[in-house]
Amino acid sequence: MTHAPSRLGAVALAELFDAPMLMRPVHYFGTGTAITELAPDSLREHERRYGPRPVCRDAVGDALIEQIERAELTGRGGAHLPSAVKWRAVRRAAGVEGAVVVANGAEGEPDSRKDVALLELRPHLVLDGLVCAAETLGASEAIVWLHENAHAARAALSRALTERADLDEPRIRIAFGPDRYLSGESGAVVRALSGGPAIPAFRTVSSAVSGVDGMPTLVHNVETLARVGLVVRGAACATELVTVTLDSTHVVLEVPTDADLQAVITLALGALQPQAVLIGGYGGSWRAWADLARITIAERSLRRHGLSLGAGALRVIEHNECGLQCAAGIARFLSEQSARQCGPCLFGLAAVAGRMSDLAAGGRRSRRDAERIGRFVAEISDRGACHHPDGAVRMVSSALSVFADDVVAHRRGHCLATGRRT
């Protein structure tokens, strides 16, 4: 096991310990670029900060998979599947033809900015992880997959790739998909890179066995790969990357894994007592603030409470904001972002979104909406080719339970949160 090289200064080491990936909060407004200008690490700054990257051929690659397993690294695109399992599956399937490794930076989650922040600040750390994967798995191709409008991330990556051109490592290319919610779904990434449309596919064989052009393929979120870049250097990474959103402001933070939600929200927004939080992004779960504040943010802790950090997106709503209205808007978005391939998703999410809008609008007409949504939810769950509809119904179901009092109030003609007549 390697250790962080001693030529790191004392200050840099302290920073590494606290926030090895990001160092400081990054603010974004709306769909725009970061509010403060971000200067991506040059290769020199990167190597000064983290030390040189160990080459991962042969025995070093074997050791890296062990290190990844010991570090309990999981997929940060949102699924939190053990990364070592994926690496081993690809390695088993990769014969003489080799494999394909993909860094997935197509951040489709509207409330997440951690992936672009990472690409814009630490492109070399992500590329280190990708190169380590390529070397370990004997990949013939290494690709970074981005949204076509992620201009700042693209610029940072292009510059970083130019700087690495002389290094003795696998060549990396950048590829782009449309700016849609599902372009970053791993099946959609594999399909697009094989020459198809960037939408999920119905699969009976995992992409680890047959992915891009039929080759065994490893698709990892860019944060997962940045963590590989740390693990390979023997650096501990006891932090979570999250995006806290209030209205149109997104704050990307790196917080200790043992921080509770109260600490995370305070770090991002100051002293604020929210009404509720949507945890895990648009396909996540609503939870009343009182039930959430003391829960530790680590995925393992959240799972014990029936929650998941997903891709690290936390949307906060205040006491004067209508949770049902917010949930209805998100349900509408998710319905519109359906790849329109699977009936239960195409028709089911439209039906759910429609009833949610009626319910948020309130009045006697919405009398049976909650009941109908409940029936639809039971029909839609676990039936799509991807998990898009599952996330949508999870978000809607949790909204109906967290804002249950407001469901009743809306029916009677007023909103508890805003005080307005419905």
Partner: protein, 65 residues
Amino acid sequence: MTTLRVDIVACEGVGICAHLAPDIVRVDSWGFPILAGTPLARGEKRQAESAVRACPHRALFLADD
């Protein structure tokens, strides 16, 4: 162990399957098949096979695990 499965992308919600295999296929509110996903019992196999043969989009298939 044989299971009746559906390629939900290929499925267009024609619904013949639910008529031919009423014991193992029901349809949702929009006409798309909901399958039990459990291994077929001996008596169900014939129903499943006729549903697979009749699907105009070749969306249904039998999977051996």
